[in-house]
Amino acid sequence: MLALLILFWITDLRGGVYSRANLIISETNQVFMDDSGELLNFSAEAKEAVEVRPFSYYVALNSGDRLGLILTLFFGILSPFVFRRDIQFGLIELINSKKTNSESYVLSKFLALFFIAFVFSLLSFIFVSAYSLYVSKTLSLSYQITDFILPVFISPLISSLYILSFTALVSIAISSSVGAIVILFVYWFFCVTQLHAISSPPNLNLILMWLIRFVDRMSPKVPIVLEENRNLLILNRCLYIILMIVFVILTSVLLKRRRDNGFYKNVITEE
């Protein structure tokens, strides 16, 4: 997973930072037509944008958007197997024979996963902020490290923690890790297509988006729109922290009930 993440940093995030810097330093205008037929000058907009906020601000939003997508996919695929493997390989019988209670068993698994999610988010944060600093220094662009903390570190971390607990719960509930992955993909698909959740005037649907998509081209309008949506964004992140806790508790309750009912006594290895 770490190898895949590093590959993602190099191929995707690095390119994203550089393409944004190129838009600002480019001497030529880059004009494109959008789906509605309107002409957009990306380069001129980018130059206006860096007069309002530092270059790092826009890079952080874009990188945070992509990091959220990839980290949730990573952890969404990983976590269903963490519990199901114990059941498939018959380890659950061994665990049942010990004095370990369900709460500590579930919590220990989740803590390990949360720790990995934390480390991966932190490493990504370090990579993006360090590389942006390098590009900013090289091309003499404005930079503030604090711009990265919320969109690149906190937001993807909360999304990852939430999706970890969600897919783990689903895998236990439907007794299938592969089934949980399918549900994750459908869920992820609904979220990934919500490209304009952060809008002006604010849309209340934003509260329900488990994965914040900051996508927008470099434009001076971005800080204004984000400021308008600030309260909804905070509400959204709080909601997902609460949901994460609820899912962890539910997983523990479900596992306990199944253990008490003897569900895992005769473990059938086939899903």
Partner: protein
Amino acid sequence: MGFIRMSSLKNNRALETVKTQLRLISGINWILVPALIFAIPFIIFFEQGDIAFKQSWAFKVIETFSPFVGILIGSNIFSREWELQTNEIWLSKANSRGCIYWSRLLLIYSYIFSLASLELLVICLFYVRMDYLEGLSVILPPAIFLSNLGFISGLVSKNTVVAYLVPSLYWFMEISTKGKYTGIFYLFPRGSLACADACSVISTSNNWKESKLAVLFIGVCLMLIGWIILEKYEFIKKR
């Protein structure tokens, strides 16, 4: 008469093998994947416009997200043998593994084909009329390629997590780098949904058919590589 009986016996045995393999590889994911197939028309339904816009939008979304079906169905077909600890049984058999390999591939491709057809049918009925053959040529090559990439990753790593992660990450890379590293082997040449920084930078390319053929070619190559890996598995394992 004897010849007819022999060929009938062979047909029965082939049918039995296919049935057994179907039982082995089909799981809850096969039942849940149609949810994704119905989610795609549901999402595109909210974008209204003239027929040209609707067709372009429908092609964009189905091309980008339908290959997920390949990942979800095909990725774990071999790695699950290690999950279920049944690998030793079929790897230790003296007879060729070709029967297992090709019947499993035949099954997953048939299912992907059926789901793609169903998806196009739903879009045609409820959203906009689309060229069926064009739709299939847009969906199938990346779906086949990603499913092959998934099962090879699973076969080599013997791990289902890796089997799902590798094609998913490849899909994501293609979306975000817009074919910068893959060139003609770009999975989504007919239009990209990756609007992260510049949606319109990628215009619909005219040579998308060549690109799809190239992807299909790589998919077939992966299929053959998978076959070689499986055939030589015992040898690789000993080494």
